[in-house]
């Protein structure tokens, strides 16, 4: 490759892409140059001076312009007069770097000693202690003893709330600006800034309310000291006490990989989630996680978490055994003319598959999905969604990102980060069409505005985009169903798929549809249940994981299966306690069709059981003979029965590969996510357009101008049965508003 540059670091040769920074080139060789302000996900600033190394370039004779060689024929290196920051110096051909000289060692020790003159060294009570880059690098490179023999260490405020989610310890801050830079360069929420100067310099928030950003929790991960802590985790546990389970967030279509840190609690006698951290998956969320994904987990130990089956007797829900509950259900199902299974789109593939199977095995069952609207177009996303080999990091110059009727930051926050980078940092052309302003509008090269309810006009207008789309290298279309009803949403999806087909981008890698589905497994539930539109009424309605949603058929008998005591559950005839995602294994299919496994972190709460187990037991009570021993067995059935999933297996989903730059447990000095990704990166299944012939859609119903207007715009923190149960999120919850 012409773009490789040869460098020698401590005598070891390495070829790295042009533009690689010295610290990263050294990292390739396993040479960890210590850093504090530098973070591979942020632009370098060279502030902390920890990464000083000795850099030289081949000496060139000014007269002949030729590289000078010594008698032995070796290139003579002209070393720079001073040490240079490795984090700001890109490699150049023939460059030589020395990282182990006495001068470099002294410099590291010097800078660390300086840093520690204003650092409190309260490691024994610090939340970061045990996973702290400053602690680790001090042990590796620092002086054992400080010569700063003054009592007057800095004594600053230790509990400064930047917002109600993030606290700042001003003593511990080493002024590396990682948090400010993350907010400016990645999240684009300019809510943090330095205040004052010199040794008085401190982080402050500029926003009211404080630290107003959906991504604030990430700053606690990348903070290289214990200066930033979350209201959720601070003072709750020491890192080494925590067990870690690899999981996947199910609150939006992105499917961010997470690590659930749990610990046994003597007070409550149970195991609890203490912290949710992002888990590195460069294909999905890199190392980021939105605050909802990070802080919403409290429902897994809510006071009203369902732990016992309940049946209604004399108008009241009373506790029952599983067998009693199954008996009541079986009796009513036998008596009913019809059974309607309504499956929520946050439950796992395995659950949804088993529930659908159970409902259908009654012989009079119908299966629908809730919320229903996504089911109106998920088949189109399956056909014309992004190509299997899509890598959002590859989207850039020459590509077009079209955002239609979607508020990406509110509906898929980490996709927002990634699409923004594609546009802002890599030069993709962003076209935004919406009836209102969204944060994406900031980066739009072209804004197409239509009236609320007037998306028809945009559809008619969109033909003029075709030349641009056709000329583009790749075309990504992110779309949502705001203010549309199901037929209208389907028509919009068809139209957008046609744009891809007409511009020659259907079924291609780095091109295709990205749907702003409401939850984390909308596509998966759709895929494995093949839902039909909901019936108007049914003898028995069996609602599984639908939360408080009201779009249910009329029922003479209502069975609600859920994690917490929702409004809906309180009205049910039978309530079945389902395990939360943290209490069992399973898989989700993200909005871009990546199937990912998640793993059990907590023991079952009381009598709560996985949805699939409950479903199969109901079916068995009714005479069915099938039985699964675990989620893996169900997935094996999914693979044989669900088109598209044929090439998948639990083993394949669990496969990992080295994530670069490495930020997990083994390399705990960059800071960021703490654990390596051992749970697998998941596999995106192939879009139908990639294998079959692509046929233009006959756009069905016109997108009626006034349909669906009553549907609220979907916001990240909108009120719901789960976020309501997270006390740290309490002040952030917004009631849905119809604009």
């Amino acid at each position: 490759m012409a773009d490789l540059v040869n460098v020698t670091i401590d005598g070891v040769a390495v070829a790295v892409p042009k533009g690689t920074l010295v610290v990263d080139a050294a990292k390739k060789l396993g040479n960890d140059i210590p850093v504090f302000c530098y973070h591979p996900k942020l632009k370098p600033v060279g502030m902390c001076r920890m990464c000083l190394v000795d850099v030289g370039t081949p000496k060139v004779d000014p007269a002949t312009k030729q590289v000078v060689k010594d008698d032995a024929g070796n290139v003579v290196i002209a070393w720079m007069p001073k040490l240079t920051t490795g984090c700001t110096t890109p490699v150049s051909e023939g460059m030589a770097v020395r990282t182990a000289t006495q001068q470099v060692k002294d410099a590291r020790e010097d800078v660390l000693e300086f840093l520690l003159t204003s650092h409190p060294l309260d490691c024994p009570v610090c939340d970061k202690g045990g996973e702290c880059p400053l602690q680790n690098l001090t042990l590796a490179h620092g002086p054992g003893q400080s010569r700063f023999d003054y009592e007057a260490k800095q004594h600053n405020d230790k509990h400064v709330p930047l917002g109600d989610l993030i606290f700042l310890d001003r003593e511990r801050c080493i002024q590396c600006a990682r948090c400010i830079r993350f907010q400016d360069d990645i999240a684009d929420d300019h809510v943090l800034q330095f205040f004052e100067r010199g040794r008085h310099m401190e982080i402050m928030t500029l926003s009211e309310p404080g630290f107003d950003s959906y991504f604030s929790g990430n700053t606690t991960d990348i903070c290289p000291v214990g200066a930033l802590t979350s209201a959720d985790f601070r003072f709750k546990a020491r890192p080494w006490e925590l067990d870690a389970a690899q999981s996947v967030c199910n609150h939006c279509p992105v499917g961010c990989n997470t690590t659930l840190n749990t610990r046994l609690e003597t007070k409550t006698g149970g195991r609890e989630i203490k912290r949710v951290m992002p888990r590195q998956n460069e294909q999905v969320n890199e190392i980021w996680l939105c605050d909802k994904g990070r802080f919403v987990h409290h429902y897994t130990r809510a006071d009203d978490k369902l732990t016992q089956p309940m049946v209604r007797r004399d108008g009241k829900l009373v506790e029952a055994t599983w067998d009693q509950a199954f008996g009541v259900i079986a009796e009513r199902v036998r008596a009913a003319e019809s059974v309607a299974g309504v499956i929520g789109d946050r439950i796992a593939n395995e659950d949804a598959f088993a529930v659908a199977r159970a409902v259908r095995s009654t012989g009079k069952g119908s299966v629908s999905m809730s919320p229903a609207i996504s089911a109106a177009y998920a088949d189109i996303v399956r056909a014309c969604g992004v190509g299997a080999a899509t890598d959002l990091k590859q989207i850039g110059k020459g590509d077009v990102i079209l955002v239609v009727n979607a508020d990406v930051e509110e509906q898929a926050p980490v996709w927002f980060l990634r699409l923004r980078q594609a546009a802002v940092d890599r030069g993709a052309k962003l076209v935004v069409a919406h009836h209102r302003s969204t944060k994406m509008h900031r980066y739009a090269a072209q804004i197409m505005r239509y009236e609320i309810g007037g998306i028809d006009a945009w559809v008619a207008d969109s033909a003029k985009l075709l030349p641009d789309l056709t000329a583009a290298r790749n075309v990504l279309i992110a779309f949502g169903d705001e203010k549309l009803d199901a037929p209208a949403a389907r028509s919009l999806a068809q139209h957008l798929a046609n744009l891809l087909i007409d511009s020659g981008h259907a079924g291609k890698a780095n091109s295709g549809l990205l749907a702003m589905y409401p939850h984390g497994n909308t596509q998966g539930v759709f895929d494995v249940t093949a839902p039909m539109p909901a019936v108007a009424e049914a003898g028995v309605v069996w609602a599984v994981g639908v939360g408080d949603r009201a779009d249910l058929p009329q029922a003479s008998f209502l069975v609600v299966q859920d994690v917490v005591m929702t409004e809906l559950a309180s009205q049910a005839d039978v309530v079945l306690p389902a395990s939360s995602f943290a209490e069992r294994d399973g898989s989700y299919t993200s909005g871009d069709r990546r199937v990912q496994r998640f793993y059990r972190a907590l023991p079952a709460a009381g009598q709560a059981r996985p949805d699939w187990w409950i479903a199969q037991e109901v079916a068995r009570k009714l005479g069915a003979e099938w039985r699964y021993e675990g989620a893996g067995q169900i997935f094996a059935d999914i693979v044989t029965q669900i088109p598209g999933y044929a090439s998948l297996s639990y083993e394949a989903l669990a496969k990992g590969e080295e994530q670069w730059p490495p930020m997990g447990r083994g390399d705990l000095y960059y800071g960021g996510t703490v654990y390596d990704n051992e749970g697998g990166l998941g596999v995106r299944y192939v879009a139908e357009a990639e294998v079959g012939t692509v046929v233009r859609y006959e756009v069905g119903a016109p997108i009626a101008a006034l349909s669906g207007l009553e549907r609220p715009e979907r916001m990240l923190y909108q009120d719901g049965e789960l976020i309501r149960r997270s006390h740290v999120m309490a002040s952030h919850v917004v009631k849905p508003a119809v604009a």
């Binding site: 502030m47 800078v111 300086f114 330095f194 100067r197 010199g198």
Partner: protein, 447 residues
């Protein structure tokens, strides 16, 4: 010895009364170079003549101005000119006099620079404390607009130019060009990573020339009269004239405009009337607290960029602070360290933490608790800062320690041996500084 320039090039207010007024300035060739350039010269020709003149930057670094201008890429627009009037180096007061008493010459030089590189907007960044002299500058700009010398379609051409004055908020670091740009953009005043240099990516990430006020004040004469005219003064490598701000223990502290390379430090001292106390002069800081101190034994050196190098110092911004034999160099070094500690922007570790530690050590000296071990520790901390800083501020902070220790180590030894620390005067000084610090803390708490 009296001032040798019978006709000033820069401090023309000393020759021509009321030259701050537009009519007077114009009656004395004012804006003639400007008109000549806009109506009859190409931008490259202006750059050419400035390049030929050998004019070097007067802000301190001495970088050739014409060369700097020639780095501006032609095909990226808009471009900007930013005039550095942050004049914060202790002992510097030349730009002050220029904008107060000869503002049109600064404006004309700024305008010529804009025209040369194809910029249509210039910002004159003045330190916040210049609120009062800036009124003169602003009036001059207003008058120039009214007279059609600034604004749209100048002299009937399609060239337009706007000049704005911006007041800083009082930070030494904002005299560093990239911190100045950050401050001008409304951000916290901290230096930027280089490269890219401002010529490529400066104000609002556009090509930007940043020059000192005095540098630009030289330009009108050069454009009007040619490079040979300017080279009648100075040496081959240090052509032209330079303003020397002289202060300290001299009888006549003032700005002195001199041809470069002609006079020695001793001459300058004599022009300023010699020692004001009668005590012999011990040393001089040639460029405020940023510069290596020069002991009297080297006063023979000529005043130009090259000669100052040969005696291990710099010409810098030419703020000459003379100190007589009564000055204890330990005290002087502490003063300077305190200044740098106060002004450290905090961006990089060695400067932020090192200056703090160094001040602690000097405070210990003054309090009388120090031993020779602390002198060694000063040497150590000094080395620990040196060569590791993000920008020159941190590096400059070491000068005061390095060179007082180098030239006046005996002062340190005597300080310890004779128990000079802990005197009533030093205790008062420490208390006062501590009090200031407290006040600062209170002000912050109320902010």
């Amino acid at each position: 010895m009296t001032t040798p320039m019978d006709k000033h090039v820069l401090l023309r207010d000393e020759d021509v009364q009321d030259i701050r007024e537009l009519a007077v300035y114009q009656a004395n060739e004012g804006y003639a170079g400007w008109k000549k350039a806009v109506t009859s010269m190409k931008g490259e020709e202006v750059i050419g003549v400035v390049k030929d003149s050998g004019l070097r930057g007067r802000g301190g670094a001495g970088f050739p101005a014409g060369l700097k201008w020639s780095f501006i890429p032609k095909d990226i627009n808009p471009k900007y000119v930013t005039v550095n009037c942050d004049e914060s180096e202790p002992g510097t007061f030349k730009d002050h006099q220029l904008i107060r008493n000869n503002p049109h010459q600064v404006i004309e030089g700024t305008a010529l620079c804009c025209y040369a590189i194809g910029a249509h907007v210039a910002y004159i960044y003045c330190r916040g404390e210049f609120k009062e002299p800036v009124q003169n500058l602003q009036k001059a700009i207003d008058d120039a607009y009214a007279a059609g010398l600034l604004g749209k379609n100048l002299f009937g051409t399609d060239y337009s130019l706007d000049v704005y004055v911006h007041l800083g908020a009082g930070a030494y670091i904002c005299g560093e060009e990239s911190a100045l740009i950050e401050s001008l953009e409304g951000k916290i005043g901290q230096p930027r990573l280089k490269p890219p240099f401002p010529a490529v990516s400066g104000l609002y990430n556009k090509p930007t020339v940043i020059n000192n006020v005095e540098t630009l004040a030289n330009v009108p004469g050069i454009v009007l009269n040619g490079s040979a005219w300017y080279r009648q003064w100075g040496t081959e490598k240090s052509p032209g004239v330079k303003i020397f701000s002289v202060s300290g223990h001299v009888k006549k502290p003032d700005n002195y405009e001199l041809p470069l390379g002609k006079y020695s430090i001793q001459d300058l001292l004599e022009m300023a009337g010699g020692s004001s106390t009668g005590l012999p002069i011990k040393a001089v800081l040639p460029a405020g607290s940023s510069s290596p101190i020069i002991p009297a034994v080297n006063f023979h050196a000529k005043l130009d960029y090259e000669s100052m190098g040969t005696i291990g110092s710099v010409l810098g911004s030419c703020s000459w602070i003379f100190m007589d034999e009564s000055v204890d160099m330990v005290w002087a070094a502490r003063k300077m360290i305190r200044f740098f500690k106060h002004e450290s922007c905090g961006k990089c570790t060695p400067c932020r933490e090192g200056t703090h530690w160094a001040l602690k050590l000097y405070d210990k000296m003054l309090s009388g608790e120090a031993t020779m071990a602390d002198v060694d520790m000063i040497t150590t901390v000094n080395k620990q800062i040196s060569g590791k800083c993000f920008c020159p501020l941190g590096e400059f902070s070491t000068s005061s320690m390095t060179f007082t220790l180098k030239h006046f180590r005996k002062d340190y030894e005597d300080f310890i041996a004779q128990g000079k620390g802990g005197s009533a005067a030093y205790r008062r000084e420490l208390e006062r500084d501590h009090h200031m610090h407290e006040l600062h803390g209170q002000a912050k708490a109320h902010s």
